[in-house]
Amino acid sequence: MQRFIPSALVVAMSLGLAACNKQAPQGEHVSINKNPYPSTYQPYESAELLIKNATVLTGTGERLDNADVLILNGKISQVGENLSHASARVIDANGKWVTPGIIDVHSHLGAYPNPSVESHQDGNEMTSPNTAYVWVEHSVWPQDPGFNTARAGGITSLQILPGSANLFGGRGVTLKNVPAHTMQAMKFPDAPYGLKMACGENPKRVYGSRKISPSTRMGNMAGYRSAWAEATEYKRAWEKYDADHQLGLAVDAPERDIKLDTLRGVLDGDIMIHNHCYKAEEMAMMIDLSKEFGYHAGTFHHGIEAYKIADLLADNGSCAALWPDWWGFKMEAYDMVQENIAIVDAVKNSCAIVHSDSDTTIQRLNQEAAKVMYRANENGFDIKEEHAIRWITQNAAKSLGVDDKVGSLETGKQADVVIWNQSPFSVYAKAEQVFIDGAKVYDRSDEKYQAKSDFMLGQQ
């Protein structure tokens, strides 16, 4: 800071804080805007609603038979038996089931949209093994017809992640699954950002084939460690700058680096890790890596071998977001067991999640959870619907850092709610009505509430 501004110097000196740098005046504090693409989401107009006589799975592990859900001002007001309200519209849900809105923690909708033509391949910035500087929200096409089909399957919130080609794939974003024509209008207010990391075969294949690092799993680890070491220095530099500035020193702000901003966000605990990682030994090392550099290892996605280290995951407070039965498409997906999610879930303090990573199965995450529950129950487990629903509601919300807002039907939570024609664990189950913040966003029997993408309009 070379400019001489007398008034600033006088102020600083009068505070007695500039003693060690009398030559230079203090410049304005440089701070980084952490939210430059803010959510513009506004809940749609909601009515006062009283859903009566349903089988309610609360998302907290409870099942209430013949119960009611009262929604006021877009929030869950009450859940219980024989509720009444003077002005609320009553929906008779006798014989139907009610659950929290379904949450998918792993989607590429909008970034790999339909139609999946060349021009739409926006999910993987495959140009460097560390692209922590990209934000997948900048790829999201809100007109992806997949958002609408997912909503018809009861999906009310979802995390869009970049792909897994890179060690650091970039930031993920959590969306409310409302029809909109800007990304910001879907953005889940106050949801923390995620950072996609990837273990194993994908990064080493993509970069190894170009004869650049990483080409091996040890190269992957070296890549993460170098990046975190650099981020640690960056964090230190900014913290020193902030502290010195606070002391009134005339210090220069460190050079801004948007890649390191993201990594530092993780070290600061603002950004949550979402780690594509299949194998037990790799997940165990990723946990040590996080301890080496002082951040939380976050959620492991696709962990085909999570069942081998269920204790370790729970001890570390890591969620595991998994498929019920995908397997065999590559070596690291060879050791699948159909009970993976059930085994992970059975450990105390666990956080098991059913995810889709698919524009198809995201439409039936309820059936995906059902496959796990019933196949596990054939092999010694005794899992009930009220518990299994947590894999696609409360646990998913926890993984995304939004469990204080959604994921369960508790008083004060955002009224993201699905009414099903029957148990959602049936192959014949259909979401009949879907609400987000108390507003109806889908109705199977009313075309008015069936959104259509711009792309599909007028097609024959």
């Binding site: 065999g328 067991v337 009970e339």
Partner: protein, 413 residues
């Protein structure tokens, strides 16, 4: 499930040794025949020499009696258009044998079928007893030949019927025009038809026809189906014209955009193999993809078979769930059952399986309840009258990691 007289193991050993003299009866069953007979409640069936010897509402006697206790018996399900036994791990090139870039019409991947693949025991968990394996791509529109295999996992006898259909890929491509691919397809048929007409004029021509010529001749006589992977409605209409011109036994696969032309498909008697789950506009060829397609085609009178979208080799066990979803969106229960049994058999000329009728192979599945429902347990699977295990490598891994042991997991086997 109560077993009398013989243990399962003994039964399996006897039959695999070829000693098929003994008979088995399944009694007290709800038999879903996948024939015009529909559901036979509280019936029994008799198995002799690996075949269904009798179906009766009387108590049948046999060396071995299986009391189904009112549970549901269906034909074993038949997967199709996948690469079961031709791929172990998708990304491991040396474990993939289903496709050949320059293969062309004569490429027959069934020579590479591995009955010991871990995918086969896994597929049996879904009640799959047979499967039609088919190449999925190649440079030419003619990508090769399909074959029927059974899921017994046995050396030597698993490939039941090789080269049972000609597989062709048409529609939008990255390079060039779809018109060129379609023309190439038509030219082949036309060329062979011309040869055959000339040949019938010259009776002295004794040159042995090539493999390709034999296949095309069989196709032109309507003896060997031609299964065309195609998505767009207009392309399917062009293919109906080809069928009418050459008299081929045309089958459409994929057919995401079939909905707007269901009447034309029905009138032309063209069977359709599709995924019940394909409802997204994956390309400009599939803008009308819908969860209701299977049911709507059925109602229009089209013969429908269901297949799995995506990785259909590793996931073929899910066929019963797909059938359930087809029912949820409008297909009849009976239609959905046929779509994974007798319709597949009919399309690929599998004469000895796909339904429960006297003379058919005893490829059977016994279910605790509705076979399409996720909560339902598969209780028993038989192939050629022999009980086969549904245990796969996946179960071994689960058991290893759930076992109580003070020793490292590697000692739990």
């Amino acid at each position: 499930m109560k077993l009398f007289k013989k243990t399962l193991l003994a039964a399996a050993v006897l039959s695999s040794a070829g000693a098929m003299a003994k008979t088995t009866a399944i009694i007290n069953a709800d038999i879903h025949t996948a024939t015009e007979q529909g559901v036979l409640k509280n019936y029994s069936l008799l198995i002799e020499d690996g075949k269904i010897a009798a179906i009766s509402n009387l108590k049948l006697d046999a060396d071995e009696i299986i009391d189904a206790q009112g549970k549901i018996v269906t034909p074993g399900f038949i997967g199709s258009m996948n690469q079961l036994g031709l791929v172990e791990v998708g990304a491991v090139a040396s474990s993939r044998d289903g496709n050949e870039k320059k293969g062309g019409i004569t490429f027959d991947p069934s020579l590479a079928f591995n009955p010991k693949s871990t995918l086969i025991a896994y597929a049996r968990k879904g009640g799959i007893t047979r499967d039609v394996i088919a190449p999925s791509w190649g440079e030419s529109p003619f990508v090769g030949l399909s074959s029927t295999v059974n899921l017994s996992g046995e050396f030597g006898t698993s490939v039941v019927d090789s080269q049972n259909a000609i597989i062709v890929n048409l529609g939008g491509t990255k390079d060039g025009s779809r018109a060129a691919s379609l023309a190439k397809f038509i030219d082949k048929l036309e060329g062979q038809q011309t040869k055959l007409e000339k040949k019938s004029d010259k009776k002295d021509d004794k040159a042995e026809p090539s493999k390709e010529e034999k296949l095309l001749t069989a196709a032109l006589k309507g003896e060997k189906p031609i299964v065309v992977r195609v998505s767009r409605a207009q392309d399917m209409l062009e293919l109906i014209k080809v069928k009418e011109r050459f008299g081929i036994d045309l089958v459409l696969s994929g057919a995401e955009d079939a909905l707007p032309i269901k009447a034309e498909l029905a009138a032309a008697k063209v069977p359709v193999i599709l995924s019940a789950m394909a409802n997204l506009p994956g390309s400009f060829d599939s803008l009308n993809a819908s969860l209701t397609t299977a049911g709507e085609l059925e109602k229009a009178g089209v013969q429908v078979a269901l297949t799995i979208a995506g990785d259909s080799s590793h996931n073929v066990y899910q066929l019963r769930y797909d059938a359930g979803n087809a029912v949820a969106y409008g297909m009849s229960r009976e239609g959905a059952l046929k779509a994974i049994t007798s319709n597949v058999a009919d399309i690929f000329n599998i004469e000895d399986a796909g339904s429960i009728a006297v003379g058919k192979a005893a490829d059977l599945a016994i279910w605790s309840a509705d076979p399409f429902e996720i909560s339902t347990t598969l209780e028993k699977v038989m192939i050629n009258g022999v009980a086969v295990s549904t245990e796969s490598r996946h179960d071994k891994l689960r058991d290893r990691y759930m076992a109580e042991s003070n020793m490292p997991r590697a000692y739990t086997k």
